[in-house]
Amino acid sequence: MTLLAQATAAGQPSCYSRLTNEWFCTQYLHDYRSEIVDATTQHLGITVAAVLLGVVIAFPLSLLARRLPRLESSILGVSTGIYTIPSLALFPLLVPFTGLTATTVVIGLALYALTVLVRSMLEGLRSVPDDVRESATGLGYGAGRLLFRVELPLALPVIMAGLRVATVSTVALTTVGSLVAYGGLGNLIKDGVTTDFRAELFTASVLCVVLAVVLDALIVVLQWVLTPWTRGAQA
């Protein structure tokens, strides 16, 4: 049963039928609602998982790089090297280890996010003025308390800027995951290209950008919420 058949059965060609094949079509949004919602949910899930995994790996790595300057250049070098590899090539390289699963995509994207996150964390921690650090030590702050109560809050703006970059580019990169069939909205885009289905292709593309903008705004709000609190606590 083709779309054409459906449309003629209804008496009036829908705007996504083979004959018209319009780029934007509200009928499509209505008819394929569950498919679109599923793809968006998968997209969101993969993106969030990848960024969180990236943060979890990047944090200890940046602390390690800060502690051991000799390791710093190799950590940055390796992560930049990974960043250089096109995503369409990185996912296949992971497949022998993780198979055709969402894990492959999440790990690949986390590796990309890692590069940006490690750099911004190092940069953020470095932006903490030395005299602030000395004052805290003078007040009797141990290494752990110094890190979590003084350095991290002060580094937050730079780290959050990195997080925004990582999140927005991860949303865009998730689409490439369609290679292993876990691309969220990318699956719809791929299907749209192969079947020349413009409404599907265009809707998924727009949703990708919307998702990136929404997540970016959420992080800005999060930072807005976090920063006054840290200022209050440190003042």
Binding site: T84, L88, P92, L93, E123, V168, S205
Partner: protein, 254 residues
């Protein structure tokens, strides 16, 4: 672990490299289209961005164009450009079936890192150096060509480097939607469950990406007018904090 052996077999079989549709031909096509797109983007983007940096205007646009570029999935834009009624022909001389649409898309994706880095590079020339140039009686144009350009060159080059990596990555994805290029080997392998082939293609694409990056880094070092200063800067990132952020914040995006 059998996959690795099969991948190796695929890579070492000369039959897979030679002839029409062989990996060598695809590699040359992809390199050609990447370099052309990068050159086009440099011709379009660099003069405008450098001059805007000199004037100190349009900074909002120059910086935000990268943020916008990051949010638009390369895959989606390529897909739309290819599916749309074609701007230009599908087959384009030595570029193979990639066509003009792909060339346009690649050029578009090379622009943001070029523009942002070139603009920031000129803006970051220290104010006292600028004032010294003014004090020596240099005209605006002299100041631009003799002071700002040479000092901006390393950061401009790092923009070119990012753009090159970006274009190569995008060209790989272009093959996914628009015809030959090494991305084709990857997607063919995956869609036909011939995983060794897909992984072999991925290895070649990744290796070429690393080689391009190393090549660009070497060129960047060669054109640096103050090699001592910038390598010291790289080792003591505190002094060039903003520069590193600008570099780190760039997307590869695909």
């Amino acid at each position: 672990m059998n996959v690795f052996a099969d991948t190796w077999t695929y890579l070492t079989d000369p039959g897979n490299w030679q002839g029409e549709g062989g990996m060598l031909q695809l590699l040359v096509q992809q390199l050609l289209i990447s370099v052309t797109a990068l050159a086009a983007a440099m011709v379009i983007g660099l003069p405008v961005a450098l001059w805007l940096g000199h004037l100190g205007r349009g900074g909002f646009l120059a910086i935000n164009i990268s943020n916008i570029g990051r949010a638009v999935p390369t895959f989606a834009l390529l897909a739309i450009l290819v599916t749309a009624d074609h701007p230009g022909v599908r087959t384009f001389g030595p570029y193979g079936r990639a066509g003009v649409a792909t060339l346009i898309a690649l050029t578009l994706f090379a622009l943001p890192p070029l523009i942002t880095n070139a603009y920031v590079a000129v803006r970051e020339v220290p104010a006292d150096v600028r004032q010294a140039a003014d004090g020596m009686g240099m005209t605006g144009l002299q100041k631009f060509t003799r002071v700002e350009l040479p000092l901006a060159l390393p950061l401009v080059m790092s923009g070119v480097r990012l753009a090159l990596v970006q274009v190569w990555a995008t060209a790989t994805i272009a093959a996914l939607v628009a015809g030959p290029g090494l991305g084709r080997v990857i997607t063919d392998g995956f869609y036909r469950s011939d995983y060794p082939k897909g992984i072999a293609g991925a290895i070649v694409v990744a290796l070429v990406a690393l080689v391009l990056e190393l090549f660009a880094a070497t060129v960047q070092r060669a054109v640096d007018p103050t090699p001592g200063a910038s390598s010291r800067g790289r080792r003591h990132p505190k002094s060039v904090g903003r520069r590193r952020v600008a570099e780190a914040a760039e997307p590869v995006g695909s």
